[in-house]
Symmetry: C2
Subunit: 324 residues, 2 copies
């Protein structure tokens, strides 16, 4: 009933009288009124005019599954189930639990806010309510565990293309897992896996996107290094539209990688990288060195040219030194 | 109270009268009698003589935490907690749950029987009640995910040494994760990990050891390819003693690998391998080939010499062709 009323309102740009709705749905006007009140509670902006009736002005700025489903343009991603939280500790943690319990591939987890959002290596991730996309995707890829880092790269090229398409800004990929704009972080990707030594049980790709966060709303320690799509585009960005684009791009490239391997991913990654061609400093667990980031190899490792030769970087942090 | 009575019985090889125990513990003879009955229920073989009193003939053939603890000769392994099940689906699954919930490193999970025991690649693992050691160990190593396969090798050398020491049989390691005797499987190792791309969250090493399984008790499909320590040694093997040796060996080599790297592990693995020097057939996901297993490299990959050159084998099954 509620869904039908919502559909009716969505399909009409002008007013619909309560009498009209009541006749079409064959229920009392009081019942209609009650459902309209409930929809308003959920955040739907519905105008009630004493003579003209009801009009849907705006859907809520929420990533509600019922708003996502009609926008899904995917084969797998989002088709395994959409788990939505108003607030949760970490979407990756929820996704890992679902995956361990056997959920379908393509299951996604979304939250309006995370109170324990995580970045790489147990760092925190700032995840304010309804201002970003805090998303985790469960995959069960046929790849070997050694190929898992390329799933992060796959997610990066998908997200980067979605951002360019929806927000029209010049973003780029920093090795291995961030998307930057003007040197500041727009998106972080945290890939986690459960694996045997020769097979992946599941992969959870966590994607944290700063969408409509005002620069002054970042905590002081993040403000100099973080930015948002809205800040860069100079206007708010529809989270629903952006999410749909991310899921569609990820779906497409994942299907491609599964069928044909990671050649396309690595090629696109190279083209959209802001790391290659830069002087970088590599901060590893045990050592630190600087050099020119010249390429990535077929495993996704960063190749850094130093006076001693080419260093292959698989793990560890890479800080990009600004050009003089 | 129960523990004190048990300790008293253990420290006396001859009979202890109920009166004697009752006086030492300052409780009634009826209370003593009740505790003795409970201990018998648990499987402790206690002789009751009308005049002489009680005598502990044998502790139960169970891997009870209270029997394991006094035998622990380790720094880490087993110190994080011992979780004991009479029967469970899979000790690895329990260990993974505990690890995800944040249990301490060195936590171990044991079951007398598994009804959903798993081998590699979702194969089953025959785990009859009280006839094997079905063990999982939780580690939180500082290694990168790329080094995880070497943890399997580390477990293999630890288990192999424990077997040789306790059962005195000539066992050897088959790449990457089995221990064989006379070409038949004694032990399987299933290592699983939860990892980010550049850090391991935790590793669970599952070790399934066929200890006191009679050859005729293996299912028909396993009988030709599986054996047990008792079958090879020609006598029953104490599971408690063997378990203590496995934990001690694993503890020692893990500490060494953490401090100095995997050099020692790989060296011992080479010495105890039954794969190196053999003609092997490699059954991969996409291809199959044969050649001579000549060595392992520093990543633990098997190097196979074929007419086309050296093939490096990371994942996939290796079947060892018997010599002509």
């Amino acid at each position: 009933m509620r869904d039908k009323i919502l559909e009716l309102l969505k399909s009409n740009e002008s007013y619909l009288s309560g009498e009209d709705i009541s006749r079409r749905m064959d229920v009392s006007r009081t019942a209609i009124w009650k459902h309209i009140q409930a929809l308003k509670q959920e955040g739907y902006d519905i105008e009630s005019h004493p003579r003209l009736g009801y009009r849907l002005r705006q859907i809520p700025d929420r990533l509600l599954p019922e708003e996502i489903r009609p926008r899904l343009n995917t084969v797998k991603i989002g088709r395994g189930g959409i788990h939505y939280f108003s607030e949760v500790a970490s979407t990756n943690n929820e996704a890992k639990k679902l995956a361990a319990a056997g959920c379908a591939e393509g299951t996604i987890v979304l939250a309006e806010a995370q109170n324990g959002g995580r970045g790489r290596l147990s760092r925190g991730w700032f995840s304010p309510f309804a201002r970003g996309i805090w998303l985790s995707v469960v995959l069960r890829p046929p790849f070997s565990p050694q190929e898992a880092p390329k799933c992060t790269m796959m997610a990066a090229v998908a997200v980067n293309r979605a951002i360019r398409r929806v927000a029209g800004i010049e973003s780029g990929i920093k090795w291995p897992n961030d998307i930057l704009c003007g040197g500041k972080k727009l998106v972080g990707i945290l890939t986690e896996m459960s694996a045997e030594m020769d097979a992946i049980n599941h992969i959870v790709i966590g994607i944290g996107m700063n969408v409509n966060i005002a620069p002054e709303d970042f905590p002081p320690d993040l403000a100099p290094i973080a930015t948002s799509l809205a800040a860069e585009a100079g206007k708010p960005v529809s989270r629903l539209e952006l999410l749909a684009a991310v899921l569609a791009e990820l779906d497409k490239i994942y299907q491609h990688a599964t069928a044909y391997g990671f050649g396309e991913v690595l090629q696109r990654w190279r083209q959209e990288s802001v790391t290659l061609g830069q002087e970088v400093t590599v901060l590893g667990v045990s050592k630190q060195f600087s050099g020119l980031a010249v390429d990535i190899d077929e495993d996704g490792a960063l190749l850094v040219k130093t006076p001693d030769g080419i260093e292959k970087v698989l793990a560890g942090d890479v800080s990009i030194r600004p050009k003089q």
